[in-house]
């Protein structure tokens, strides 16, 4: 079992399949995630694939400030990803609300809805930064350290 678990650890780090969820983004972050597929950034090099179904994914990329109408979808899609899973908040919006903070149609931040493992700040962040965020999340997956914000909140 020791051998299998160490191979499993390596596999989790080398095979991050992502699902991208636009939770009210202006598209800025989404087109930079789209650029990751292009030959210049080619995220398949690190084994990353963009999946169409959350059931096939390991990492949830969330963009946008979480509009009221998308919050339930975020919860449901997060629940559909099989364990172990990680969440990467791409851009400043999910972290702080960015310029949309204070709007009546926007939630107060993504952490109220799902546990975030990696924040990638920027408006929008550069593709390299997003890729680094995905790699960090894959590393946390391999180490079994995802969902820590959530767990800390529950221990309080």
């Amino acid at each position: 079992m020791g051998l299998f678990s160490s191979i499993l650890k390596l596999s989790r780090r080398r095979s991050p399949w992502v699902y991208v969820l636009n939770a009210g983004s202006c598209n800025g972050c989404d087109i930079e995630i789209g650029s990751l597929l292009s030959p210049r950034y080619d995220m398949e090099q690190i084994g990353a694939l963009r999946q169409g179904s959350p059931k096939h994914a390991d990492i949830l990329l969330i963009t946008g400030p979480l509009t009221l109408r998308s919050a339930d979808a975020v919860r449901s899609i997060y629940a559909q990803i099989p364990e172990p899973k990680a969440v990467v908040a791409v851009g400043s919006c999910p972290a702080t609300g960015n310029v949309f903070a204070g709007s009546p149609t926007v939630e107060d931040g993504v952490l109220h809805v799902v546990p975030v493992d990696v924040f990638v700040p920027g408006c929008p962040p550069r593709p390299q930064a997003i890729l680094a965020g995905v790699q960090e999340a894959a590393h946390l997956l391999a180490e079994g350290k995802t969902g820590r914000w959530h767990k800390e909140k529950h221990h309080e």
């Binding site: 596999s11 989790r12 080398r14 398949e44 090099q45 999946q51 169409g52 096939h56 099989p82 364990e83």
Partner: protein, 303 residues
């Protein structure tokens, strides 16, 4: 007695069955992805990628979708892997079992069709509308590509006057081989659901098609079955169309070369095309596929 059993188990689990098939399947899957990436001026995934994807999926906690019987959910991908491995094990490959019997060719054809049937059932069992549309598309596609595929195999069987693979293998190379090989290759991209026939799993239309509700270990088994299908198609191609040489080593090289050739053809085609609509794919197989089928069967009957 037990010697035969050990040989059988070895053929099933080691060579040319599960272990060798899985390793070769991963190699082919990687090669296909890497070739497509290179044609798109990308690097593509590292060599070990399909293996790591498989292990990672095995290590995920699976969620059986509500309304699907767990037996069906795990049974279908397992059945796909078991049957395609059996097809590999009974093929007269260099270093294989070579336990030839009458009608083994027909058995292989049925066994190779199993993963597709399991896919279709999985799609319908998933109770997802995407899965159901994917399944009905796959069923329609089978009706299309089976025509040239079965005709290619039958043409050689007619010529050999036998449905034993060793008899077909012993046929002297002739014009029927050329035409039948063409019909066979015509059917390969659709069999492997690669572009332009990636219709049942068209991501932009129906997400992941029949596999949409599958996750974790069950999805890993389906992916493994897909890799094994790649290998089985290559193996059958080498059995049918590559003449055997006296040296076992050379035969082995030829067997691998046949598989690589099919990977190359499907990858180039996949990189150069857009996805067809299902009715166009169907029409393609019922015109060009039918012509090739008719051609090789008539030629085989005449010669």
């Amino acid at each position: 007695m037990s010697n035969g059993l050990i040989q059988g188990l070895a053929a099933y689990f080691l060579w040319p069955g599960l272990l060798a098939g899985a390793l070769l399947g991963w190699l082919y899957l990687w090669l296909s992805r890497a070739l497509i990436a290179r044609m798109q001026r990308r690097f593509g995934p590292p060599f070990y990628q399909p293996f790591f994807d498989f292990v990672k999926l095995l290590g995920k906690r699976s969620m059986v979708p509500a309304g699907t019987a767990p037996l069906l959910y795990y049974g279908l991908p397992l059945a796909a892997v078991i049957s395609i491995t059996l097809a590999l094990a009974v093929m007269p490959l260099p270093g294989g079992l070579n336990a030839s019997f009458t009608g083994d060719l027909i058995l292989v054809l049925y066994l190779m069709e199993m993963p597709a049937f399991c896919d279709i059932l999985a799609g319908f069992a998933s109770r997802s509308i995407y899965g159901q549309v994917g399944s009905s598309r796959e069923a329609a596609l089978i009706l299309g590509y089976s025509l040239p595929f079965i005709a290619a195999v039958s043409a050689l069987a007619i010529q050999a006057d036998s449905f034993r693979m060793v008899d077909v293998l012993a046929l002297p190379f002739g014009p029927v081989h050329v035409l039948a090989a063409a019909a066979f290759i015509l059917a390969v991209p659709a069999r492997l659901k690669s572009n332009p026939f990636s219709i049942p799993n068209a991501e932009q239309e129906i997400v992941a098609g029949p596999h949409v509700e599958y996750n974790g270990p069950a999805l890993a088994l389906f992916e493994l079955a897909h890799g094994l299908e790649f290998v089985a198609v290559g193996a059958l191609f080498s059995v049918l169309f590559i003449p055997r040489l006296p040296s076992a080593g050379l035969n082995l090289v030829l067997y691998l070369a046949a598989g690589l050739l099919l990977v190359l053809i499907t990858s180039v085609l996949a990189a150069a095309t857009a996805r067809l609509q299902i009715h166009r794919a169907f029409r393609f197989y019922w015109t060009w596929g039918a012509l090739a089928a008719l051609g090789c069967v008539v030629l085989a009957a005449l010669l």
